[in-house]
């Protein structure tokens, strides 16, 4: 019998390991489940994925359903949905959680409609209050927040990456690993992946970077944007951008940080010539410290910054590079 706080987590593996956001989602799932005496089950799709189940258990899953097979090697909504929907129906959790990643954003709406329920995407808070699950999510580009409840079950939510405390692993935890007897009919897969071009930008580790130098329109040109690269180099950090430099071709589109770009949480985020639109802040608000350089004292970015320099990047940044070289010796 399902408890009123049973949670199902859809895990996401990449390159044979669990992406770090899984631990954040499990941390949240555990807190919600524990509040009502419920259990956390996880679902894991992949090829030879069994080896990852103990990691999910160590991070808080009480059981792991493993759907193992070649059809699950790379994420594809139509391949995952039949088994996922079957597991959800069988276990009737109060909520289904997954990361708000490319996968979660693509999978969760379909799952919601298949299970005749609804989804709240990009959630940053969740609580069970008076027996009801309340989810908080940013809206209006980050200018607003809405708190939503559900009239149907299960409630499905994608959880914004870096919004939750990750679960602390406990190697002593025990849990069941259940092999999923797949109900997938390969004939139901209508969308075919016919090609993949890997990125050439090498900026894949923005999510892991401890220091990020992000450039905005205030860097004025491709040459101006080079200042961001120079500063990042002396700091040993990565380079990111607001949307406009990507649109102008000063840097590759994959550098974009924000609502429709990447979500990062470095210790230090240097924003050069970025105004601080909410859609940009959505991608960097969980940095430990934002430091910004902007000519406009009234720029919104300063309201999110620990330190601010009112000045022209073309003057301040070269001087800053020299000063940091001195410190680093």
């Amino acid at each position: 019998m399902a408890a009123p706080s049973d949670i199902l987590v859809v895990a996401e593996a990449a390159d044979g390991a669990l992406a770090s956001h899984n631990y954040e989602v499990l941390g949240l799932a555990r807190r919600l489940a524990d509040g009502g005496g419920g259990a956390v089950a996880a679902v894991l799709f992949g090829e030879d994925a069994n080896g990852l189940a103990p990691d999910l258990i160590a991070h808080g899953a009480d059981s792991v359903h493993v759907a193992d097979g070649g059809a699950f090697a790379t994420y594809q909504a139509e391949a995952w949905l039949p088994d996922l929907a079957a597991i959800a129906k069988e276990t009737s959790p109060v909520a289904i959680l997954m990361g708000h990643t490319a996968m979660g954003a693509d999978l969760s709406p379909r799952l919601a409609f298949r299970l005749e329920t609804a989804v709240a995407t990009g959630c940053v808070e969740a609580e069970i209050s008076g027996g009801r699950l309340l989810l908080t999510r940013p809206c209006y580009g980050g200018n607003g927040r809405e708190v939503t409840s559900f009239r149907t079950t299960p409630a499905i939510a994608t959880v914004k990456v870096k919004s939750q405390e990750p679960a602390t692993p406990d190697g002593g935890r025990r849990g069941d690993v259940v092999a999923v007897a797949s109900v997938l009919d390969p004939g139901d897969i209508r969308v075919r992946i016919v090609g993949r071009e890997a990125g050439t930008t090498g900026s894949t580790d923005l999510e892991q970077a401890r220091v990020i130098v992000a450039g905005g329109r205030g860097l004025k040109s491709r040459d101006g944007f080079a200042l961001a690269h120079e500063l990042a180099e002396v700091l040993g950090g990565a380079v990111g951008a607001s949307r406009l430099p990507c649109d102008f071709g000063w840097c590759p589109p994959s550098y974009q940080i924000g609502l429709s770009g990447r979500i990062v949480s470095p210790d230090l985020y240097l924003a050069l010539g970025i105004s601080g639109a909410p859609q940009h802040i959505a991608g960097c608000a969980s940095a430990r410290a934002i430091v910004s350089v902007n000519t406009d004292r009234a720029a919104t970015i300063f309201g999110h910054s620990r330190f601010g320099v009112i000045g022209d990047c073309q003057e301040v940044v070269p001087a800053l590079i020299a000063e940091i070289r001195k410190i680093k010796g």
């Binding site: 209006y140 607003g144 809405e146 939503t148 209508r190 993949r196 589109p253 934002i290 309201g303 800053l320």
Partner: protein, 269 residues
């Protein structure tokens, strides 16, 4: 071939944050006086994607139908899409349809798509830039039981198949799906075209149907707030409580030195 593009009218998503105000009691956003409502940017790019398909084909072979659910004012964005070059419009305009969540919106749009009749491709933006949910596109596909492909940066129709280049992290994934299908369009598709003088002059002649919930065969309980599966309990504008320490200095060199010092002191460098 018919391409249906679902578009939504929203407040300008790029207004200064200081202009964003909510009525917490009504759980609604207060419109900024004098500021025009706009087509959601990703939806405008979905219109562009449809026009690029039409440009490549024999113009008469492709009909682009713009579908919007919204109040009377939403006619403006429908006409805007027609003056970019779309052929006809359908406006779901009925007070009963207002206040819908993503589910009730998808239901209404799906009923409209069925009523429009033959269709090969349905395009939407990746998400509407007001609620930022990104649910309706895939929802329509599920309700119609047809494939959906999200985050397109390029959409090509080749006979009975749609070929989509989708944004996938750092790279691109190329997929093919049989038509009819739903494709949601990402910012990476590129700039939408401006309204052309020729198309703007023809807009008055282009047909626009206005349908109510009853026209769609939907009862009051199936649409709008009543037909929703989620309830908005609260809406507020979060405030940042970060105090910014401005780094002083007579010259950029002094500012840079002071900043480097503070960063070092705080262990950030």
């Amino acid at each position: 071939m018919r391409v249906i593009v679902c578009v939504k009218q929203i407040p300008d998503p790029e207004i200064a944050s200081s202009l964003f105000k909510v009525d917490e009691a009504a759980r609604k956003v207060i419109p900024v006086p004098g500021l025009p409502m706009v087509i959601s940017p990703f939806d405008e790019q979905a219109v562009e994607a449809a026009l690029r398909i039409k440009d490549k084909a024999d113009a008469d072979a492709v009909t682009i139908t713009i579908l919007t659910l919204g109040p009377e004012s939403a006619l403006t964005i429908l006409k805007g899409a027609l003056s970019m070059g779309a052929d006809e419009g359908v406006h779901l305009c009925d007070a009963a349809l207002e206040g819908a969540d993503s589910y009730a919106t998808a239901v209404a749009l799906t009923h409209a798509i069925r009523k429009i009749g033959d269709h090969d491709l349905i395009l939407t933006g990746r998400q509407a830039a007001d609620w930022d949910a990104g649910v309706v596109g895939c929802g329509i596909a599920e309700l119609l039981d047809i494939p959906a492909v999200t985050l397109a940066k390029d959409v090509q129709v080749d006979g009975p198949v749609v070929r989509v280049e989708r944004v996938a992290g750092d790279g691109v994934e190329v997929v093919k799906a049989p038509l009819p299908a739903v494709v949601t369009v990402a910012h990476e598709l590129g700039q939408p075209r401006k309204a052309s003088l020729r198309e703007t002059m023809r807009t008055a002649q282009k047909p626009v149907a206005v349908w109510s919930a009853a026209d769609l065969g939907l009862a009051a309980g199936q649409v709008g707030e009543a037909g929703s599966r989620r309830t908005r309990e609260r809406l507020y504008a979060p405030v940042s409580d970060i105090f910014c320490e401005f780094i002083e200095g007579e010259t950029p060199q002094q500012q840079a030195a002071a900043l480097a010092h503070r960063l070092h002191e705080d262990g950030l460098v």
